[in-house]
Amino acid sequence: MTGLGPVSQWLYTRKSEVRRNVRLAEPVYEIEIEIKNADGLHMRPAMQFVDVASGFDCDIKVSNNDTCVDAKSIMQMTMLAATCGTKLKVKAQGPDAQEAIKALQELVEENLFDESATAGSGGRNE
């Protein structure tokens, strides 16, 4: 910020503070979703989850009891290793947080990642 006098600099700082506060005031939505497909959150479902999450602008975090990860990172999502029956907390923050939560809940609990709820039939075994 060279060339700016102390007042403009102060104004600049004030502005970014305000911007940060706006960020904090963005809507936050949080839900618990249950993994219902028999094979759990293995890599392919995790990729679907990341794909859906990445379609939204909001920040999305997913956590089990030990780990909290970024819903838009495949490497992190696979780390959750959520088995069938696991409940995950999903927290979204940003202008489209509500839509994001709705889309993710649908993917996980209604569509079951296009897999089956019964062991064996949902796999891709040879």
């Binding site: 094979d39 293995h42 890599m43 992190q76 696979t78 780390m79 290793a81 088995t83 062991a119």
Partner: protein, 157 residues
């Protein structure tokens, strides 16, 4: 579960001969077959199953690593093989970059939970910058083993 619990130490290939994806998968499967880890299955069949899975969606998740895997009825215990390539292999990765470290994971058909635990472990380690760079720089089997056993020190279970 620790990385060293399911990595087959006899199936570590510091310098993969193959320069293509399918060849690298075949090499790793064959190393596991030689180590007696694929039961009565023919290596060719396992390789085919891994490639089929890979064609559905690439397991090359970026940052120079790929984790090809399959669940197969001939496999009795979760087992992994590790291979490195200096030149890099095209895995159709998400970031379109070559893969330098390949971790092949084979799981029994009927234990989704064990498979998930192994995947969790692999990705937890791959997430670490230093583990990835150790693997990538490794020239010998010993160095790869060292990287694998180092991951144990950070496991609190």
């Amino acid at each position: 579960m620790r990385f060293s619990d399911f990595v087959c130490l006899d199936a570590i290939i510091p310098q993969l001969k193959a320069s293509d994806r399918d060849g690298a998968i075949a090499e790793l499967v064959s190393a596991l077959a030689d180590a007696g880890k694929i039961g009565t299955a023919k290596p060719g069949n396992i390789t085919e199953a891994v490639i089929k899975r890979e064609n559905e969606a690439s397991t090359g998740i970026g940052k120079g690593v790929a984790v090809p895997h399959v669940k197969h009825s001939a496999i009795s215990q979760v087992v992994a093989a590790v291979g490195c390539s200096t030149e890099g292999i095209d895995f159709s990765s998400l970031d379109k970059q070559p893969v330098y470290s390949v971790i092949l994971l084979l799981s029994p058909a009927d234990s989704a939970d064990k498979h998930l635990q192994a995947m969790e472990n692999i990705f937890r380690n791959l997430q670490k910058d230093d583990f990835r760079s150790f693997l990538r720089q490794a020239q010998t089997t010993e160095q790869i083993k060292e990287a694998i056993f180092d991951t144990n020190e950070n496991t609190f279970e």
